[in-house]
């Protein structure tokens, strides 16, 4: 058993205190203790510049987009489309036309399941997901399969929470229409080999969707290198406001897909008899979008790129390793999800305490963690636990906060023993 005193910590590649000072939420106390926010896999806090951008836009620049031909609207439209370019740049998409704004990953996956499904999935076809998906990447496909008479196949995982690639290859067939897996598992933290998953799916003639809700805040994403057909993200998990996110889709694939939601702004021409649809991305953006939130997203992207996603990934990995070592030393605690490649998510199970009691007790020490099934009940079933406690770290967290987490867990176990 390693001795805590000898645990080494890599020096962060930036000044973490300076970063923390940019997040107003983090400076408060909870139950008289400094807040230790470790529920970043659920949602992230907002830096002051994102908060300020949203306030400033609404105070000085707000106007409708893609409709008005007056100054306010034209300026807002320009700013709105600039953010689309920023998103395309962040993920290295070939064109900004490949970026569709949605409310987040859930809506993005539903869009693809409905639209791609309507055009390309028929009775007897197969769709592949994995055993460690969020419900948002499970239920839309179940609904589609039920609707079309298609079949859902599931890639199994090993005891470490890694996809079993041999089994995946066996599931692929000429009947496979789409493979939809996450880049990073929200419940376990596993980083999946999505490039290989995509290559194999393409060999079988299937399209690929990667759920990037958990990966986009932690690492650099290059959709052209991955070669996936779709990639989704949620702004609120990457330091932007809630209610905004998006879908990347290869343009050639998007242009063959029918609309998902219909209405204003997604049309080319409407008569009472027939409607011609606009080209992507407008085809998939009916109605007035989340204009203000898009501005916040643009600011968050600038912020992340200024810090550097490589530096973020490096430091968060150091936090993961440190936290993993601290928690592994605790008797009666089992880490659920021990993949070789992980993002900074620590899901664990304590023999003597139910996760909801753990969460309440940790909250007494000012620590915010999630307890529950993490909207991934099939994952919990695979690991034979009703729920886990999950601590998920961001680059604004500190090694010392993980020390407090470990001490608080020990204290909770002592109370229950």
């Amino acid at each position: 058993m390693p001795d805590t005193d000898t645990l080494t910590t890599a020096k962060p590649p930036f000044d973490v205190d300076q970063i923390r000072a940019e997040f107003p939420v983090l400076s408060q106390t909870v139950h008289g203790k400094p807040l230790i926010y470790l529920d970043n896999a659920a949602t992230t806090q907002k830096p002051r510049r994102v908060i300020e951008k949203v306030r400033q836009f609404d105070s000085e620049e707000y106007g409708t987009v893609r409709r008005g031909s007056y100054r306010l609207s034209e300026r807002a439209t320009q700013m709105f489309e600039d953010v689309r370019h920023k998103v395309a740049g962040l993920f290295n998409a070939a064109s900004h036309k490949e970026i569709i704004f949605t409310s987040g990953t859930t809506q993005a996956i539903n869009l693809v399941a409905y639209s791609f499904g309507k055009a390309f999935v028929k009775a007897g076809d197969e769709i592949i997901i994995s055993n460690i998906e969020h419900h948002a990447n499970t239920v839309p496909w179940q609904v589609l399969c039920e609707d079309r008479g298609a079949h859902l196949k599931v890639i199994p995982v090993n005891d470490r929470g890694e996809l079993i690639m041999e089994e995946y290859q066996k599931l692929l067939s000429p009947k496979t229409r789409i493979v939809s897996v996450n880049h990073v598992s929200n419940a376990l933290g596993t980083v999946n080999p999505i490039k290989e998953i995509t290559r194999l799916a393409h060999e079988a003639g299937a399209k690929v969707l990667i759920d990037g809700a958990q990966s986009t805040p932690h690492m650099k994403i290059d959709v052209q290198d991955i070669d996936c057909d779709f990639y989704t993200f949620s702004g609120h998990k990457m330091y932007a406001p809630s209610g905004i996110g998006g879908l990347y889709g290869k343009y050639d694939v998007l242009k063959e897909m029918p609309p998902y939601v219909t209405g204003g702004d997604m049309i080319r021409h409407v008569t009472l008899e027939k409607t011609l649809y606009a080209d992507p991305p407008a085809r998939f953006e009916a109605g007035t979008p989340a204009i203000t939130q898009v501005m916040g997203l643009g600011e968050a992207i600038d912020y992340l790129q200024e810090i550097g996603l490589d530096k973020i990934a490096e430091y968060e990995h150091a936090l993961l390793e440190y936290g993993t070592r601290l928690l592994s030393e605790i008797d009666g605690l089992n880490i659920v999800g021990t993949a070789a490649h992980k993002a900074s998510i620590l899901s664990f199970h304590i023999d003597v305490i139910h996760p909801h009691d753990v969460v309440t007790l940790l909250d007494q020490d000012g620590i915010a963690v999630r307890g529950g099934h993490h909207c991934a009940q099939p994952t919990m079933q695979r690991f034979c636990v009703p729920a886990t406690t999950r601590a998920s770290a961001s680059f604004y967290n500190k090694y010392e906060e993980l020390d407090v987490l470990a001490a608080s867990v020990r204290r909770a176990i002592k109370l229950f023993s």
């Binding site: 139950h31 305490i353 139910h354 996760p355 909801h356 009691d357 309440t360 007790l361 007494q364 307890g371 529950g372 099934h373 009703p386 729920a387 204290r411 109370l415 229950f416």
Partner: protein
């Protein structure tokens, strides 16, 4: 080292560790399965009620957090020998207490040691943990097979 709240008291920890009346009851006259889909608490409450409407026996089985298990355990101990009408009145008082609408230190009540759950009102997300088996017990009396709290 102590926590400054009244939630995890020794009695609650004890009933979580060693739940009383924690068994199935094949001869039950009434039973109901209670489930909280949000947190996964899952219990079945069994009642054996005689011709005089007295609860002769009461038990529970299932799994969940310490609060739900201790609350179920203490409930079963409390209900044994009570009249059905009385249980409904006590359920009303218990429910008001956990919601913070009744303070057992200030107001008259019939809750006995169940009053130790009054601390739950400080923890809104845990109220359903404390009340799940009570809802199941009422569900059993009303011949519901399953109830859920959301």
């Amino acid at each position: 080292m102590s926590y400054d709240n009244e939630l995890y008291q020794q009695v609650i920890l004890d009933h979580n560790k060693k739940p009383r009346n924690f068994r199935e009851m094949p001869e039950a006259t009434h039973s109901c399965h209670g489930f909280n889909p949000l947190c996964g608490d899952d219990y079945t409450v069994y009642l054996k009620i005689n011709a005089e409407d007295v609860i002769e026996d009461v038990s529970f089985m299932g799994s969940g957090c310490a609060i739900s298990k201790a609350s179920s355990s203490l409930m079963t101990g409390f209900l044994k020998g009570k009249k059905v009408d009385e249980t409904k009145m006590v359920f009303g008082e218990f429910h008001k207490m956990v919601l913070g609408e009744m303070d057992p230190d200030q107001q008259e009540h019939h809750l006995g040691k169940l009053a130790l759950f009054k601390g739950i009102r400080e923890f809104p997300s845990r109220i359903k943990c404390a009340s799940l088996s009570w809802h199941s017990m009422i569900g059993a009396l009303e011949k519901d097979e399953t109830i859920t709290t959301e």
